[in-house]
């Protein structure tokens, strides 16, 4: 039914009921994306309501931004248009937890912390721990392809997401993937949804592979005198039979922020296994540290929680996600140091990251926009030579308009991405302008 003769607001009320819609100015301002204030904040109670809202939005040519906890609202480009913010926080049920299969099916607005509370009694986990993970929704984590230290062992959401129900831009509810841990039936649709920022559909239900928690996790910090020494240590671990659960780089400010022993650079490694293996692999780790000229110290169990708190950022802080090869971690660190010297505001970048996967995270606090933009450009030039990328994961709008927050995408691949986006959302309902290349 066309509602063009009535107000769209009234049609939204028909779909979700008045209590689930807000158009109070303060609520709208709180939901603004950059300087775009939505006309409505809608909080659906079910996947069916999400579908009905999107069908209406498509018909009326509205722009919709799905929202979870709101932790990643300044990822990507500023939105071209914004009419509806779709708040998913009421889609928060665990739908089906099958501990004996190590799988769980949840609604996308469930927070990772709430899921962990359901899994902990069975000593199972969804191993995904980006800073601030507990308060973030699983839909938001998947849509932004978030990842943390546990990535070293368990990979990213592309390795954990088995199935997904999403609502396409035209309101069609669609399922892809499987409920079981092994399936190659049809195209691997879940892969497309990871990191797509909701541009191919609004995530409604997610089925994950779970992992057992190891009997014990032991953590060591290896302090080193220089970036090349850290590189040497990383290479030794990668070329060994050690199987780190977390394998995280920390520069001096990051060590300080997490109350760890101070050093020019540190690498924190955890081993998760049975007691005996943790002890043995810890011994091997200490030996490799010595060979690289470093010093290994056993850390307390709460170290990773301290890191999580220390590296969770506040609104307005600049967060960069750098992707490089594990073999050029030292060069990347040196490029960061060189870039830091040019920062007029004297800000010190805090560097962490999963070295096993060449994933580096930089937090820049207190830099002005011009400084930050120059820093990003400098890093992009530095990693360009070794096929790396720098994405502005968070930061003020002015920074994300001064430069492309995503950075370049290879033209032929981008052409496919553009066709994909056009195929499924030709009217640009979902998050227009925010994804790579302004998609």
């Amino acid at each position: 039914m066309s509602v063009s003769t009535r107000s769209v607001g009234a049609a939204l009320v028909d779909v979700v009921g008045a209590p689930r819609i807000s158009d109070r100015p303060e609520a709208l301002r709180a939901a603004a994306l950059d300087d775009r204030v939505p006309r409505w904040v809608v909080r659906p109670a079910s996947g069916e309501q999400v579908a009905a809202v999107l069908a209406l939005a498509a018909e009326e040519g509205l722009a919709v931004a799905p929202r979870g906890s709101g932790a990643a609202q300044d990822l990507g480009g500023p939105p071209e248009r914004l009419d509806v913010v779709l708040d998913t926080l009421d889609l928060a049920r665990v739908l089906e937890y099958k501990p004996d299969d190590l799988t769980v099916r949840v609604e996308a607005g469930l927070t990772a912390g709430a899921l962990a509370a359901s899994l902990n009694p069975r000593r199972q986990q969804l191993p995904m721990d980006p800073p601030g993970w507990a308060g973030r929704t699983l839909g938001g984590l998947v849509a932004t392809n978030a990842h943390g230290p546990l990535r070293a062992r368990y990979g990213t959401f592309r390795d954990l997401l088995l199935g997904v129900r999403f609502v396409q831009a035209d309101g069609v509810s669609t399922w892809g993937g499987a409920h079981v841990v092994k399936s190659v039936s049809g195209y691997d649709v879940p892969k497309l949804m990871v990191g797509a920022l909701g541009t191919l559909g609004v995530l409604v239900e997610l089925t994950f592979r779970l992992h057992p928690m190891p009997d014990r996790e032991g953590t060591w910090l290896i302090t080193l005198a220089s970036a090349p020494a850290a590189q040497a240590f990383i290479a030794l671990v990668l070329d060994s039979t050690l199987e780190p659960m977390r394998f995280e780089l920390l520069n001096a400010p990051a060590l300080q922020a997490s109350s760890a022993p101070s050093a020019p650079v540190g690498v924190a490694v955890s081993i998760g296994s049975v007691e005996g293996a943790v002890r043995e692999q810890g011994g091997q780790l200490e030996e490799l540290a010595r060979r690289a000229g470093g010093r290994a110290t056993a850390l307390e169990e709460d170290f990773w929680d301290r890191c999580d708190r220390a590296f969770t950022t506040a609104a307005g802080e600049v967060v960069l996600q750098i992707g490089v090869l594990p073999s050029v971690i030292a060069q990347t660190l040196e490029a960061i140091t060189a870039g830091q010297a040019d920062l007029r505001s004297g800000a010190t970048p805090m560097v962490t990251g999963c070295v096993a996967r060449g994933s580096i995270r930089v937090v820049l606090t207190g830099a002005d926009v011009q400084d930050a933009a120059a820093f990003v450009t400098h890093l992009r030039d530095a990693v360009h030579g070794f096929d790396g990328s720098v994405v502005v994961q968070a930061g003020p709008r002015e920074l994300r308009t001064a430069l492309d927050p995503w950075g370049p995408v290879e033209p032929a691949a981008f052409e496919l991405m553009r066709r994909l986006r056009d195929e499924f959302d030709p009217r640009r309902v979902l998050n227009p302008g925010r994804f790579v290349g302004g998609l």
């Binding site: 592309r158 892809g176 497309l192 992992h211 293996a277 490089v324 994933s359 496919l416 994909l420």
Partner: protein
């Protein structure tokens, strides 16, 4: 049908005389893959030896609306590498080089025709391996593994092919050469690599693959446990997973298979057992030892007849030799069989084993089982004598019933073999119309002219929903049949 002489000459100009097979005798071997029920001979077979040739062939076929069927080693089990409409088959076997091995970054770049096992052999001395290990790994190509998203015994711990592919170079159905992903793991944009792995050649032809390499574990331990019933063994599998142990591999063999292997390969397994579990643990030595003991304990609690640990590498190799040669040994039991690849949630193994026995009894067929129990991926072999049409019919009915039983338990119609032509008709069991429409449209993004591996992976004549705008055929209906 026949391709015009000018078209074939054009292909010869691109590929040279060695790169094109046109004779009937030459093409005969390309009429099917290992699923020999489905036959369709291509009109010509192109054997490019470099990427530029692949691009040229695809562009020429696109211009003339000629279908393309990609082929690796031809070891697929789903009729994926046969040419139902004729056209051009592109065999990628000649493109079999290792382009780069980068151990510091634990990856390698290879051409699609490289045999899976050759890659591991190239890096084994330095302590590395390529994890996907389909039973065909000594003959199947990595390009084929990518196309089908192949699994294998050890994917229980290590994941299937897609978890080990970092990037692809593909020539899409539109004739564009595109690099997806790359050695660096994080790239902005959609994960098109992830979407392309397992697309069974319907997006395009893969011309290079960047794969992850893993470091070999410190220790490996293989445990054999035998049981008086399949159901007992299935309970043991569920217990091991529920105990939080993810072995590297957890395989089950039933009495029919045990007897066939003992007679045909070597006396490997306890002759009196109704089921054998092969449990392989790898990782840090202390972990392997501890988990080996726990697995053995869990098997005993489920009434195992015998539990033993392979004492040395020779015994371990023998235990695996039996498993890997199982499909061949079945030839002693039956002349023909239907091979199923369905999946159930792993906690439902006892249920499906009981159901399977009931189905076998109901249709009077022999069903042999050798499968990846740890992830619930069944491979029942439904035996029949092809000279008896009535037996073929019963086997076929049992096969369909089994597939539906797996779906009813919340499973999947394929765990690792893929869809091909064989299961395209079954896809609606698992996906609704809207889900299939999404897949049709996704396919069209990569292959706008509909020339890549037609009739594979998706049902050919869908009930068109609102979302799917059907393609206009580029040639008169029936032109290729």
């Amino acid at each position: 049908m026949s391709l015009s002489a000018a078209f074939v000459e054009g292909l010869r100009d691109i590929l040279g005389p060695e790169g094109l097979v046109v004779s009937l005798e030459g093409r005969l071997v390309y009429e099917c893959d290992m699923h020999t029920y489905y036959k369709g001979m291509p009109d010509v077979v192109a054997l490019p030896d470099r990427t530029e040739q692949v691009v040229e062939v695809v562009r020429r076929c696109r211009e003339h609306g000629v279908p393309i069927v990609p082929r690796g080693a031809g070891t697929g089990l789903i009729g994926g590498a046969m040419a139902p409409r004729g056209g051009v088959m592109v065999g990628l076997n000649r493109m079999n080089a290792v382009l780069e091995i980068d151990l510091p970054n634990r990856c390698a770049t290879v051409q699609p025709g490289l045999i899976n096992l050759w890659l591991t052999q190239a890096v084994a001395e330095r302590g590395y391996f390529f994890a996907p290990d389909p039973s065909s790994q000594m003959v199947s190509s990595i390009g084929g593994n990518v196309a089908t998203n192949a699994g294998g015994a050890h994917c229980l711990k290590y994941g299937i092919t897609t978890n080990h592919v970092l990037g692809l170079e593909i020539v899409t159905g539109a004739g564009e050469l595109v690099r997806l992903g790359g050695k660096v793991a994080d790239r902005p944009g959609y994960d098109l690599t992830g979407a392309a792995v397992g697309s069974e050649g319907t997006f395009g032809l893969v011309t290079a693959v960047i794969v992850r390499l893993l470091h070999a574990p410190e220790a490996v331990k293989t445990v054999l446990a035998s049981f008086a019933s399949l159901v007992d063994a299935s309970h043991a599998v569920s217990d091991i997973i529920a105990a939080g142990i993810i072995p590297a591999a957890l395989e089950m063999l039933d009495a029919v298979i045990i007897r066939a292997i003992n007679a045909g390969v070597a006396p490997v397994y306890p002759a009196e057992a109704a089921a054998v579990l092969l449990i392989e643990l790898d990782g840090p030595r202390a972990e392997v030892d501890r988990q080996g003991q726990r697995c053995a304990g869990l098997c005993r609690e489920r009434g195992a007849l015998e539990v033993r640990v392979a004492r040395d590498e020779a015994e371990r190799t023998l235990l695996w030799k039996g498993r890997k040669e199982a499909a061949g040994a079945v030839g002693r039991v039956t002349s023909s069989y239907l091979l199923q690849d369905a999946v159930v949630p792993r906690s439902k193994l006892p249920d499906i084993m009981q159901e399977m026995q009931a189905i076998a009894a109901r249709h009077g067929v022999l069903i042999a089982n050798v499968f990846h129990a740890g992830d619930g991926n069944l491979h029942p072999l439904i035996c029949y004598d092809e000279r008896k049409p009535e037996e073929v019919e019963r086997a076929s009915l049992a096969n369909e019933e089994l597939l539906r039983a797996c779906i009813a338990l919340g499973g999947s119609i394929t765990g690792e073999h893929g869809i091909g032509v064989d299961k395209a008709k079954n896809l609606p069991l698992q996906f609704a119309e809207a889900d299939l429409n999404f897949m049709y449209r996704l396919r069209r993004v990569f292959d706008p002219h509909g020339i890549m591996n037609p009739d594979k992976l998706l049902p050919s004549h869908p009930a068109c929903g609102e979302g799917f705008r059907p393609l206009r055929p580029s040639l008169p209906a029936g032109a290729w049949i």
